[in-house]
Symmetry: C3
Subunit: 273 residues, 3 copies
Amino acid sequence: MLKECLENVRRTAPLIHCITNYVTINDVANVLLACGASPIMADAAEDAAQITSGCAGLDLNLGQLHRTGLEAMLLAGRKANELGHPVVLDPVGVGASDFRREAALQLMEEIRFTAIRGNASEIRALAAERHTEGGVDADAADAVTGTGLERDAAFVRAFSARIGCIVAMTGSLDLVADAKRCYLVENGRPEMSRVTGTGCQLSGLMAAYLAASPERALEAAVSAVCAMGAAGELAWERMREGEGNAAYRNRIIDAVFLMSGEELEQRARFRAL
Amino acid sequence: MLKECLENVRRTAPLIHCITNYVTINDVANVLLACGASPIMADAAEDAAQITSGCAGLDLNLGQLHRTGLEAMLLAGRKANELGHPVVLDPVGVGASDFRREAALQLMEEIRFTAIRGNASEIRALAAERHTEGGVDADAADAVTGTGLERDAAFVRAFSARIGCIVAMTGSLDLVADAKRCYLVENGRPEMSRVTGTGCQLSGLMAAYLAASPERALEAAVSAVCAMGAAGELAWERMREGEGNAAYRNRIIDAVFLMSGEELEQRARFRAL
Amino acid sequence: MLKECLENVRRTAPLIHCITNYVTINDVANVLLACGASPIMADAAEDAAQITSGCAGLDLNLGQLHRTGLEAMLLAGRKANELGHPVVLDPVGVGASDFRREAALQLMEEIRFTAIRGNASEIRALAAERHTEGGVDADAADAVTGTGLERDAAFVRAFSARIGCIVAMTGSLDLVADAKRCYLVENGRPEMSRVTGTGCQLSGLMAAYLAASPERALEAAVSAVCAMGAAGELAWERMREGEGNAAYRNRIIDAVFLMSGEELEQRARFRAL
């Protein structure tokens, strides 16, 4: 499954339209190129719908949200829905500002998402429609841990059922669920949180995987989560003396670039809950 | 010629004003510093003309175009024309959206460009004023190949004659022409297309080369194309195990930083067609 | 002092709100993560004040200024003042455009800054309210050198007294002063000016240091300047064959990531003037 999902991206080279924050926009573009997809970043209302028409998938990211970008997201999202393209929402910092929360709710009302990917605080804020205080990083109290797995899986499945799309709640442990099934993914390294934008990169990657394997969306989403986590592990093993989070950032993207389907299969640690 | 053009950049350290997309803006700034120039990025209508007044060259890039950025481009472009500064247009994704195509045509009508640099699909879209579907990467069908060189050279020369500026159509083979002469450049690596923004970087580099050697604009443009391609080759030779497109991105800029005039002369593979 | 300031950042992991240019926004985010702080970038007027409420410090950077960003800066700055958070101003290119100068003056009138950090040309332009021509890099004529130290220190102290905040004028030599005391910092490498955004990174770092040690603001500012300079030195020592300014950019952030309090103490070269 994982191997096929990875190879479908390489084979079909889906063009992914990203409307995303400027902090990590370059990394999202490079990770899309790394996995075999092709990025186009266009966030003006003037051409968002037309650009998305020529693409195979859409990635909407609320980090550093602006009014004009939100307008472009709505236009592109509607067009992608019309054309049946997969659409991913990354609700960065959604609990930290009313503006972002209201934007997320408006987007979820007007656009059918294929998947929503966020950290535990973001997904919980979105589900509860509540305000949190922790910026763009997850609160420790919200994190998925070994002890509350069943409860967390039930929460993610229920949220997925309510909103009608795949939910990926990622962190040191990742849960990826639709209304009926929930997978636990245990790949990744804690040091990934010291690199800005690994979450943004994963959302971009997920849009590419969904675009390349639309008929098996949950499997594609799980594969993307495993691939990003495996890249974080491989990259960490390749770190050399004197290297820190900037080198790690590059090595993660490089690991996505170099990863074969076989390597992904061997590395992946996931199971149905 | 190449050596002198490279050394003129190092010697005069031209300040280059870039109004460019946010995907690759950091790379464009660092490649300008790498070649010996100095970047300033300013894309507000409020100060675009004044900033350009203190510079030696201007680089306008349509990737991720916004209405406000277009306004700044028009103001900066007119001022640069007034002052006789070289101006480069990089029509990123011009075939993928009416907004970008119309912006490009408006810019070409209101501003005298010294050079336009794009991939084969972008240059053909600009010349034909037609819509394409391939996002920001070139379609294989549009690429310059060994078999149609004479025809492609005639096309680029004719387009240059029509619009009155140097045209650089770059890809696995590069054509750089004015109305009378066309050069073929064979430097570069196919892997450069797996790094976002190598085209954007080349356009920035070209603005620096043109600013440093204004009296021999075609030679300066050819030198910039050779330098970028040579950097891609040198960078590829320096790649180590475990490195992918993110490392390659850094190594390309590093190769521009380290390149001497002699090295450029030795590496360059170009000829008049 | 330095060790304690560095360790306070690691221990308290302050969340820093940055309204900053898009050229170096990713580097600023990664250097904040490197030093142990956490970044949030939010520059929309819609949520700037709310975001800053959940943070511990604010960094305002005028590089690539836009009207909407300025509005967000004013809103965030007032809120940060209300809450007693440290606020840093980085007046990038303030001498190069009336728009930026007027924005800086408006910000200085409406917001109480804890520290202003700029290169010699920027600080002199701000103090003199004059126009300069050199883009975003410092003019050689403005630089602090060994011969005019006493005069430069008096200038920086007097400017600090006039505006009521710490002034850090950085370059090959750095002066960091309040109204009464001025420190000279001699860390750093000239090659840092070949990497875009080392100044922006330092301003972000300074906001983190001020947020973590608010009761000793001048010492915190000096520590941040020493840490950035020391990172530049350590990074340069780690450079390998074939590496240039892009590798150096990564190695500087990596050095911030790896730096211990002891290492900072050993490396730091500063003294009261």
